[in-house]
């Protein structure tokens, strides 16, 4: 299995995402923003970081990179895409997912081990979890507060498209404590916290994050 990991200028967690992909048993294929070649990968991870410095809006400039036009087209046809943190922001800027992220409610960068509850286990990236499962993975960002208008929020909730919610105190002011959502088809998933930093006990809060990557492998094998 070949899973692509995209590097934009300013991407930071690409190396870690690639390590997580390999830990799950797939081959990580580096994809560079400036080319539209998906190199025959079967899924793509948009990792965290500060693409283009995130100076304008997080993900706003990355969304127009050549690689994104290929990813957007593929995603519309059911190709699996996981956006983590900055990657999630790129997905909302690309309108593959609803909503947008704004500054954390206390205005600070937050780095903490965050408990989450997994709600939707029907997506390509979460099918290895059980519904209601609680996991802990790192949350680290400055602009992580998920926002959208009331109608959109109602739609996302009604359609069961929240994949993960923060447990305990709302860390950043996200509406309905939303930590991650999926599109209707379940192939595109965006998540603010970082599963790729929870794949071994030695360097993270545990191994809960690995299931996102093994889930997509399961999906691809089953195809």
């Amino acid at each position: 299995m070949r899973i692509g990991v995209v590097t934009f200028p300013g991407t930071l967690d690409d190396y870690d995402a690639a390590r997580a992909v390999e830990a799950a048993g797939a081959q990580a294929v580096p994809l560079f923003h400036a080319s539209d070649d998906l190199k025959e990968v079967q899924a793509v991870v948009l990792p965290g970081g500060f693409s283009y410095g995130d100076y304008l809006r997080c993900g706003a400039i990355a969304r127009f990179a050549p690689i994104m036009s290929s990813i957007i087209t593929a995603a519309e046809h059911g190709f699996p895409v996981l956006g983590i943190c900055n990657g999630f922001q790129v997905l909302t800027e690309s309108h593959l997912l609803e909503g947008a992220m704004i500054r954390n409610k206390d205005l600070h960068f937050i780095c903490k081990d965050q408990p989450l509850v997994i709600e939707n286990t029907q997506t390509m990236w979460t099918n290895g979890f059980t519904a209601g499962q609680e996991i802990v993975i790192p949350l680290k960002n400055m602009e992580g507060s998920f926002q959208c208008d009331d109608a959109t929020l109602a739609r996302i909730e009604d359609e069961g498209r929240v994949i993960a919610r923060y447990v305990g105190e709302n860390p950043n002011g996200a509406r309905n404590k939303i930590a991650g959502i999926t599109n209707k088809r379940g192939n595109v998933v965006g998540l603010m916290p970082h599963p790729e930093h929870a794949i071994e006990d030695l360097t993270g809060p545990g191994t809960d994050g690995l299931t996102f990557f093994t889930s997509v492998l399961q999906t691809l094998v089953g195809r």
Binding site: I61, A100, D149, D150, G173
Partner: protein
């Protein structure tokens, strides 16, 4: 040479933590004038010569696609005299 201004503000229904932080800091410093505060962005774009209608149309397009995110923000394009 002229300056075109693009102002981008969060839509009124979207939470504005930065504006709120300013609103609550003001009274702590003894400033009591504000009923509410919202914080947005301001772009100063320098263009060659007098801006043409075609150019302004382009700026509007850029404001809509790049400079603002229509999901949460609104924008306004002005020419500075």
């Amino acid at each position: 040479m002229a300056t075109i201004i693009v102002e981008v503000m969060l839509k009124p229904e979207i939470l504005d933590p930065q504006g709120q932080a300013v609103a609550s800091a003001l009274p702590r410093l003894g400033f009591t004038f504000a009923k509410s505060v919202r914080q947005g962005k301001r772009f100063e774009i320098i263009v060659e010569g007098e801006p043409t209608d075609a150019q302004l149309a382009e700026v509007n397009k850029a404001a809509e696609t790049l400079l603002s995110n229509p999901v949460i923000e609104t924008y306004l394009v002005k020419v500075e005299k």
